[in-house]
């Protein structure tokens, strides 16, 4: 096999021979030797000529790094009202190598800080693995009076270091806590995940909400000093400094006044409110009740506090507006009506009879109104929330056609809001059930899903975006909670503009029919949402009462006695009915009736927003 190339090369008659190779090898050596001489000269310079100097530097170990944490970006509401700030905190550390004798220093410190000596020793022993010139953190956020005492006794306490660190301050404590989120120390798993390049142990990162999803904008860039210290670790001079770059400030679309109003309205109940601008998708308020104080994550929990928080059956840490899923109940009739009209299974004039129940496969499916609605068309069916009408529309459509409209509206998928851990809800199809449960879809189940019960699930945010797209004439917009980002010197570096996700699959004519029905809900004589009617503002909306317990069971009445099993109350609405400025979705857990529990909350919130804007 070596022959082939040789003969080939012989043709060219210029194949190099051994001598040719050898000459080139000798040429190579001529490059290697000067290279090594160069290294040797450098070695000679460092170790012999300048060696004395380096020996002195090494004996003191005197060049160290001191990091400067960047101030984290601030968070404000849409009008620039401060929601999240930074405050200085004083952290006490000790450099074991410089604290001579360590025991005396610790005893003094224990006296001044009123921390038991054993605890201080414990902290020191915990870090026996790290080099002795590295400070050991003894206590974060010491009180002012302790700080003053330490400053006075400074010279009796060699090796003691007090660092000023910025800590997060959630100015409005519980307000908008779920949207803002909180920061916490980076965990080992997060460090290992590779998502947090450039972070080190002990760094604070956003753990939820805006703090998490905008971590990259908020964090800023760490700076530091290269310093020379003397034998006792005291600073001699700063050699080089790299300034920290502060994080960027985030403007939320939330209106703090409306947010507070929403939280007040929810103060006695469990539930969630989402209010958005239907034209732009900007979230005006997002409240989830009960709430929590994110400052607790900064100051540290006692074991009891933590237990109370995580064991609370009402899940205060959960953002119910985007993470909790509920049956959409009668609010879903908007979708069923849309699908029915568009698919032509009913039209504006089609009337169906509601005797108070619908018989299907030998079973009676009841309407909420025992006596029945009589003969109803689609407009009245929406206004009075006639179950029997929509049972029949649903049956004519079939589950899959109905589901395709729900999905085209954005249900059963994340809305894409700039917050993490958003739930997707559930819009069932026949194939889904077969896959998931292994059994075929039952006709009776179509009845349930056509009035938003059964397997149907949606989050308050999903229903807010659904009603927004009805309100704005059929455009689906992505909900936005962060509006713009500014750097520390006030220049806008990023703006989030309304983003059109698509359009509702509905003709303007059919949309009008539905909007009319929604107007009747609040303003009609026998609308189910009349309770939300307030003077001076035209509101359109839809009530919903989501059963926690299926109506089929006999134990329903018994169940009602227990708060636990009461139905959830929904109200989705927009106002003014024409040129809407605000769309809201209100859910009250176990509020029993959509109209009475959620309706007044929605109308009160709308009134607060529109009357303020009129001024």
């Amino acid at each position: 096999m070596t022959d082939a190339p040789l003969s080939n090369s012989f043709l060219k008659n210029q194949t190099p021979d051994s001598d040719w190779y050898n000459r080139r090898i000798i040429g190579l050596i001529c490059f290697v030797i000067p290279g090594f001489v160069f290294l040797l000269l450098r070695l000679f310079y460092l170790q012999i000529i300048d060696g004395e100097n380096f020996r002195r530097l090494s004996e003191n170990n005197c060049i160290r790094l001191q990091s400067i944490d960047p101030p984290r970006g601030l968070i404000t509401d849409r009008n620039g009202q401060l929601l999240v700030d930074n405050r200085p905190s004083y952290d006490l550390s000790i450099v074991v190598k410089d604290a001579r004798p360590l025991e005396t220093s610790l005893r003094y410190l224990s006296q001044y800080t009123r921390i038991p000596l054993e605890l201080l020793w414990g902290e020191v022993e915990k870090s026996h693995n790290q080099p002795s010139f590295k400070p050991v953190l003894l206590k974060q956020d010491i009180e002012r009076d302790v700080l003053a005492a330490l400053e006075v006794k400074r010279f009796d306490l060699p090796g003691t270091v007090v660092d000023v660190r910025l800590r997060r301050l959630y100015v409005k404590s519980q307000s908008a806590a779920h949207v803002i989120g909180y920061v916490g120390e980076i965990s080992s798993d997060e460090l290992k995940s590779g998502k947090y390049a450039g972070y080190k142990r002990g760094d604070l990162i956003g753990k939820s909400g805006i703090e998490k999803s905008f971590e990259n904008y908020l964090r800023g860039e760490r700076g530091g000093h290269q310093i020379e210290v003397n034998v006792t670790g005291q600073l001699v001079r700063v050699l080089r400094t790299v300034d920290a770059v502060p994080g960027n400030n985030i403007f939320l679309s939330v209106d703090l006044n409306l947010q507070k109003k929403a939280e007040d309205l929810l103060s006695d109940v469990t539930g969630a409110i989402v209010a958005m601008d239907p034209a732009t998708g900007h979230i005006l308020a997002m409240a989830s009740s009960p709430s929590y104080d994110p400052n607790m994550f900064v100051d540290g929990f006692s074991r009891d506090q933590w237990e109370t928080l995580v064991r609370n059956p009402l899940y205060p840490l959960q953002n119910k507006a985007i993470q909790a899923e509920y049956p959409p109940a009668s609010t879903y009739k908007i979708i069923t009506a849309m699908a029915g009209l568009e698919e032509g299974v009913v039209d504006e004039k089609t009337t169906l009879i509601c005797p108070g129940f619908y018989k299907f496969a030998d079973r009676e499916y009841r309407c909420w109104k025992k006596g029945g609605h009589g003969s109803v068309n689609v407009g009245r069916a929406i206004a009075e929330s006639c179950d029997v009408f929509f049972y029949q529309v649903g049956l004519r459509l079939g589950v899959d056609r109905l589901a395709s409209y729900a999905k085209a509206t954005g249900l059963g998928a994340q809305t894409g809001i700039q917050l993490e851990q958003e739930s997707i809800g559930l819009i069932p199809t026949a194939a889904w059930k077969k896959r998931r449960m292994g059994v075929a879809w039952q006709g009776g189940e179509t009845l349930s899903v056509s009035i938003g019960q059964g397997y149907d699930l949606a989050t308050p945010l999903q229903l807010a975006t659904m009603i927004s797209s009805i309100a704005n004439g059929g455009t689906r917009v992505t909900p936005l909670v962060a509006m713009k980002i500014q750097n520390a010197s006030g220049e806008t570096i990023k703006e989030y503009f309304p983003e059109i996700k698509g359009y509702l699959p509905i003709s303007p004519k059919n949309l009008d029919i539905i909007k009319k029905g929604l107007w009747e809900v609040v303003n009609g004589k026998s609308g189910t949402g009349r309770i939300a009617n307030i003077a001076g503002i035209e509101i359109s909306g839809k009530t919903g009462t989501a059963q926690v317990f299926s109506r089929k069971t006999d134990s329903e009445n018994e169940a009602r006695r227990s708060q636990h099993l009461k139905s959830h109350a929904w109200f989705v609405a927009y106002a003014p009915s024409v040129n809407s400025k605000i769309a809201v979705s209100v859910l009250v857990e176990h509020g029993e009736h959509g109209a009475s529990a959620a309706g007044p909350i929605a109308s009160e919130l709308i009134r607060a927003y529109l009357s303020k804007n009129d001024k």
Binding site: L28, L46, G51, F54, R55, L57, N61
Partner: protein
């Protein structure tokens, strides 16, 4: 079959130089590993085990004639490319880069083996196409393709140091085999044109990274600080060193990566100019000796293999020692035989096996 001359021609000199380097490496690693945590102490024993395994590989490589390697060059190359792709897909993420494939308790760094594979394919290709007039541009298309694939796969990890090594080895072999004047002019002028264009296309932070790479002082809290500490460690060794295990920079963990990239600083601090110049001289002896092997080999493939291996080790020594002394940009390249690292040891010992093989068979020309 068995040729007595093989034993007679065994290259004792090469073995002795290798052993000298390995032993000084183990001594230094012992000193480096004593600092810090228990994990680093285990490095020493792991290194011993890798060397045990490495010697087996070296002996095994001696047994088959290196001429067989000519046949398997492309297969070996293909396996390496496959491993490099696998690293990107299923590799272990450590400190922001994916370099390791994990097989149970053993992790392998395929980029180390890729260096040897590139030497093999280039030696094979050039041994067949070499001409006194030098390579024409069109002769260089295939070598360029052979280099570019592993280069980008390694840049993607990202492991800039190893990627640059591949370029340097390839460039050395290519210049060694001679490039036609016109081709040379074309390459140089393309380079001078392309570099500013690429610079303009880079993003701000990428430019920043390259500038820091060229001038560590721009990053006084990172690379710049490491270099200062490394220089203090080396310089403070003075003439005769602080003594074995007496280095303070190392002991107090001022030195970053003291068991891998900065191990020469540990050595220089403990043993001073006498020790570090001796190691430097041993490396020089090694390079001259392996070029001597290339010189003695009358078969182009063998000569090119030996030159390629010398280029690999020579560049690594030059760049690593230059870096820790603050002469060359900070780049993660280990010091051959001395630095901690299993994959590097395996590829080094594989290279030693090939060199010995060439040396033993120099009279065996049919």
């Amino acid at each position: 079959m068995f040729d007595r001359r093989l034993v007679q021609n065994f290259d004792w000199m090469l073995l002795i130089i290798t052993l000298l380097l390995v032993v000084s490496g183990l001594i230094t690693l012992y000193s480096a590993a004593r600092a810090g945590l228990e994990i680093t102490q285990s490095f020493y024993f792991k290194q011993l085990m890798w060397y045990g395994f490495g010697f087996v590989i070296m002996i095994a490589t001696c047994l088959i004639s290196y001429k067989q390697l000519d046949q398997y060059a492309y297969s070996a190359y293909a396996v390496c490319i496959f491993l490099l792709v696998a690293v990107l897909l299923v590799g272990k993420m450590v400190a922001g880069s994916k370099r390791w494939l994990v097989f149970g308790p053993v992790s392998l760094q395929p980029s180390e083996l890729a260096k040897v594979a590139v030497i093999l394919v280039l030696a094979r290709y050039y041994s067949r196409t070499a001409s006194i007039k030098g390579m024409r541009l069109r002769d260089l298309v295939i070598p360029m393709l052979l280099i570019v694939v592993p280069f980008f796969l390694i840049v993607k990890q990202p492991d800039l140091g190893t990627a640059v090594m591949i370029l340097l080895i390839a460039a050395t072999l290519t210049v060694f085999i001679k490039i036609e004047k016109r081709a040379m002019i074309a390459i140089v002028s393309f380079g001078t044109f392309a570099i500013p264009v690429i610079w303009l296309l880079l993003k701000g932070y990428q430019k920043q990274r390259i500038l820091t790479f060229l001038e560590p002082d721009r990053d006084p809290l990172g690379a710049g600080y490491h270099i200062i500490q490394s220089k203090i460690a080396i310089g403070s060794g003075m003439l005769s060193g602080k003594g074995f295990l007496k280095g303070t920079q190392n002991a107090l963990s001022f030195l970053p990566e003291h068991h891998t990239d900065f191990i020469f600083s540990v050595l220089a601090e403990d043993w001073g100019f006498i020790g570090s110049a001796t190691v430097l001289f041993t490396f020089l002896m090694f390079i001259v000796w392996s070029l001597n092997i290339a010189h003695g080999c009358r078969d182009p493939f063998g000569a090119l293999l030996a030159v390629g291996i010398t280029a690999l080790i020579g560049w690594e020594v030059f760049i690593n020692i230059g870096m820790v002394m603050g002469l060359i940009p900070v780049v993660g390249i280990p010091l051959p035989f001395i630095s901690y690292g299993g994959s590097a040891i395996l590829s080094m010992m594989l290279c030693m096996g090939i060199l010995m093989n060439i040396s033993m068979r120099k009279y065996q020309i049919e």
